[in-house]
């Protein structure tokens, strides 16, 4: 276990090895201009399970999340070092088209961001631009399946032509998840997907996450420790750009090994 005095945060966990690894981070450093935001993070994120990233604001959890689908590239001064592999494929390889990568690795943000289009078009957009549907009937089927998987179909089936922005916050977030699912991703990244939602809408999203993990590798950044405990199988705790501790969620919340993890999850940080 990394001693708290060093900057190295290479923390593998045996449990991650026994689960089928989907994403492998190896010596990942991220810089914003001259400032180093992530220090030498290495971890294996298992497939078909939910991995939660927790830590105080500014600890680098969202930054790490965004390296997985190269979203940091959209920030000019951001620079990523190290290896990030999905099923062994190097994400940062020149041969990888970020647009294709982001279809493989879907993302859901804190604030639901449906397109100013109909509910139908929101979901159909991805399959259309990626040429995933062979015709109208095929596209209809993708839209219906995606909305069903996102637990939204019953609420919107009779008003698919209405604007997605007219839905409630929780419905919008599920619409965005349906949009991500529609392009058949392998990984879904969620950056505080429930922080703008009320408890009922949050519970629906959490239920959805639990169902989705049967088919996807899900990584969720959350400020709510209770949410991390409820939805995830693995939890990673970040602090000041270090991966401090990574292990099965149950262990992290009942018996963390690192004093910094202990202090954070019990509310003793200060």
């Amino acid at each position: 276990m990394a001693d708290s005095g060093t900057r190295s945060s290479t923390v593998y966990h045996d449990a991650a090895k026994t689960l089928q690894g989907k994403i492998t981070l190896d010596g990942v450093n991220v810089f914003y201009g001259p400032k180093q935001a992530i220090h030498d993070v290495s971890m294996v994120i298992p497939d078909r399970s939910v991995t939660a990233f927790i830590g105080p604001s500014g600890c680098g959890k969202s930054t790490i999340l965004r390296t997985i689908n190269r979203m940091n590239e959209t920030i000019d001064i951001a620079r990523t070092e190290g290896s990030i592999r999905i099923d062994g494929d190097e994400v940062n390889s020149k041969a990888v088209d970020p647009v294709i990568l982001r279809a493989r690795v879907g993302m859901v943000f804190q604030k639901p961001n449906p397109f100013p289009k109909s509910i139908y078009d929101n979901v159909a957009y991805g399959p259309r631009i990626h040429g995933l549907a062979s015709g109208k009937r095929d596209l209809d089927a993708i839209v219906e399946t995606s909305l069903k998987k996102a637990g939204l179909w019953d609420e919107v089936a009779d008003r698919l032509d209405q604007p997605g922005t007219g839905l409630s916050g929780g419905q919008q977030q599920r619409l965005v998840i349906a949009r991500a699912i529609a392009v058949s991703p392998e990984v879904i990244l969620m950056d505080e997907p429930c922080s703008a939602l009320d408890p009922i809408a949050t519970a629906k999203i959490e239920e959805l996450i639990d169902e989705l993990r049967e088919n996807y590798c899900i990584v969720i950044v959350t400020h709510s420790m209770a949410q991390a405990a409820r939805v995830s199988q693995m939890t990673a705790f970040f602090h000041m750009g270090d991966l401090v501790e990574y292990g099965p969620t149950e262990d992290i919340f009942t018996n963390p090994h690192e004093p910094r993890t202990q202090d954070y999850i019990t509310g003793r940080f200060g």
């Binding site: 919340f253 509310g267 200060g270």
Partner: protein, 233 residues
């Protein structure tokens, strides 16, 4: 108990956790004197002291109920995690064991009146020795709780073996006593129950030690570890 950790950002939460361990310490101290008093009552054939123990059990029960309420409140309102979660659960379980110890002490005290109806038995001394060991272990386990010492907790678990041996030999001796002289059967039977209750107090003390080990280390104390001194690092 929480001294080695930083204080909580929410001070009232730290206060509640401290109050919880204070309550356990208070309840433990009370139980310790209940157990030593009940043994003294039997030894000295002192009915007044016996009544005092019986009366004192209400206080133990009240403390258990207060602890239970506090634990439920904390689980509902604070959602304790990690070491706080373990401290809360351990307090709940320990208070349950202490309450049972209180009941067993009361039961021993009540037998004073019955034992006083017959001639003193020679074996009462063996019971006294066993009682001293049980009280010593209880004292030690409460110290282990205050100090947050997993090593001491393991030592208490091991020491319970000796209590069990005491009980087994007393059982055999009392049995032969009864066979030899059937007139001692009533008193011997009561003394046997006293010994049995002391043995049960030893078991509850062991449970407390196991909870302390869990509280401090986060790991269960496995049977093998506590049985085999060679196993411990």
């Amino acid at each position: 108990m929480n001294n080695q950790l930083h204080a909580h950002t929410v001070r009232a939460y730290s206060d509640e956790l401290n109050a919880l361990s204070d309550e356990i310490a208070r309840m433990g101290g009370l139980c310790e004197s209940q157990v030593s008093d009940c043994i003294a009552a039997v030894m000295r054939r002192d009915p007044a002291l016996a009544d005092q123990v019986v009366e004192g059990d209400h206080q133990v029960d009240a403390l258990e109920s207060a602890t239970e309420k506090r634990v439920i409140r904390m689980l509902a309102l604070r959602q304790p995690m990690a070491s706080d979660l373990r401290a809360t659960i351990a307090a709940y379980r320990i208070s349950g064991d202490l309450e049972r110890i209180g009941d067993l002490a009361k039961n021993i005290a009540r037998r004073t009146h019955e034992l006083n109806k017959s001639e003193p038995l020679e074996l009462t001394r063996s019971v006294e020795r066993m009682g001293k060991l049980v009280v010593a272990n209880l004292h030690r386990v409460l110290d282990a709780f205050s100090a947050g010492s997993a090593e001491e907790a393991i030592a208490v678990c091991r020491s319970d073996e000796e209590v069990d041996e005491h009980y087994n030999s007393l059982f055999r001796e009392l049995l032969s006593f009864m066979i030899e002289d059937p007139r001692t059967i009533t008193a011997s039977a009561h003394l046997l129950f006293v010994a049995k209750n002391l043995e049960r107090i030893g078991d509850h003390t062991t449970n407390i030690a196991e909870m302390i080990h869990y509280l401090v280390t986060g790991n269960e104390l496995h049977r093998e570890i506590r049985r085999d001194p060679g196993d411990v690092a």
